[in-house]
């Protein structure tokens, strides 16, 4: 189709959808209103299980299957990106990378912030059921922290401090651990992903049953997964070149 025709088809479609959407939006309950039936059921359920962060409780207890699926999507796309970005037979990986020099102040600050970032990431994972955050957010913070080595330092430093094989295994184990925890709920408490551990006291680090454990598994998977994912992109951009 020509560009014009494409835009015409699109325009007709959008105007139709737009009208329908506006008419539908007029009927949505008023923005900021108080009618949330699911909330009214979910919040007491989470509080009963000593999970102050109801969102985490929903993600890892009440709707844990969604999160299992979500983490599997992450796993699938990490593996998928690795498959798509693998060097082909007509390519090779350069061993030496010509890199821009970084200002020394930047490098210094980057290396100073690295442990801080990792600590904050660990905190976000560990307190996922208490404060905002959780396995996913913390895992990404951890992975980003590691990449300070690249953005503030150099690619070779990153490569030296990043045993990719082990991250691949950690990612698989993290994702597997979630499913295995689900199955152990089946064995121990008669239901898949049943929260089988004692709920503890509201607000404690070790409370809310399996929620912190699942958070940990997700954190492990996400951190390693994002590292493996970014490794593929970095390799493509910096070292993989066509063999002439």
């Amino acid at each position: 189709m020509s560009r014009r025709l494409r835009l015409v088809v699109f325009g007709l479609g959008v105007s139709g959808i737009g009208v329908v959407f506006v008419l539908a939006a007029l009927l949505i309950p008023r923005f900021g209103g108080g009618d949330h039936p699911y909330r009214d059921l979910a919040v007491p359920a989470a509080v009963a299980r000593s999970a102050p962060n109801v969102v985490s409780a929903l993600n890892f207890d009440q709707r844990a299957l969604d999160t299992l699926g979500e983490e599997t999507i992450l796993l699938a796309s990490v593996v998928g990106a690795a498959a798509l970005l693998r060097p082909t037979t007509s390519e090779h990986e350069r061993s030496i990378v010509a890199e821009d020099r970084i200002l020394s102040a930047t490098t210094l600050l980057g290396y100073l912030l690295l442990p801080v970032t990792l600590l904050v990431g660990l905190d976000v994972v560990a307190h996922g059921h208490l404060t905002p955050g959780g396995g996913f957010q913390g895992g990404v913070v951890l992975a980003t922290g590691l990449h300070l080595l690249y953005v503030a330092g150099s690619y070779s430093t990153l490569v030296r401090l990043r045993p990719l094989t082990w991250y691949g295994i950690a990612e698989a184990l993290g994702a597997g651990a979630f499913a295995v925890l689900g199955v152990s709920g089946l064995v121990a408490a008669g239901g898949f992903l049943v929260n089988m551990l004692p709920y503890g006291r509201f607000g404690d680090l070790f409370s809310a049953g399996t929620v912190p454990l699942l958070n940990l598994a997700v954190g492990c998977e996400v951190a390693s997964g994002v590292i493996v994912l970014l490794a593929q992109f970095l390799a493509q951009a910096l070292t993989v070149r066509a063999t002439r």
Binding site: S56, P132, A143, T144
Partner: protein, 79 residues
């Protein structure tokens, strides 16, 4: 407070539009990053700190890094 929430929505709408109408991928990546920040502020405004944290985690460094590396690789091919 309600005014603030509405302002947040308006900023997000404007930034999303700006991202879409930036044709050149390098520039777009920067604007995308700023869009992510505007989303973060909005999420805090609507009392969704978990979501805001996710958006910060994904939107500030990881996605821009992927986009920029892809742009760089694609550029390298074109020359």
């Amino acid at each position: 407070m309600n005014m603030l929430v509405m302002l947040g929505f308006a900023l997000v709408a404007a930034m999303g539009t700006a991202v879409v109408f930036t044709g050149e991928p390098e520039r777009q990546a920067v604007t995308l990053s700023a869009y992510g920040l505007s989303l973060t502020v909005l999420f805090i405004l609507v009392q969704a700190p978990d979501v805001a944290l996710s958006q910060v985690a994904v939107g500030t460094a990881v996605v821009p890094l992927m986009v920029m590396l892809a742009v760089r690789k694609v550029r390298g091919r074109r020359e």
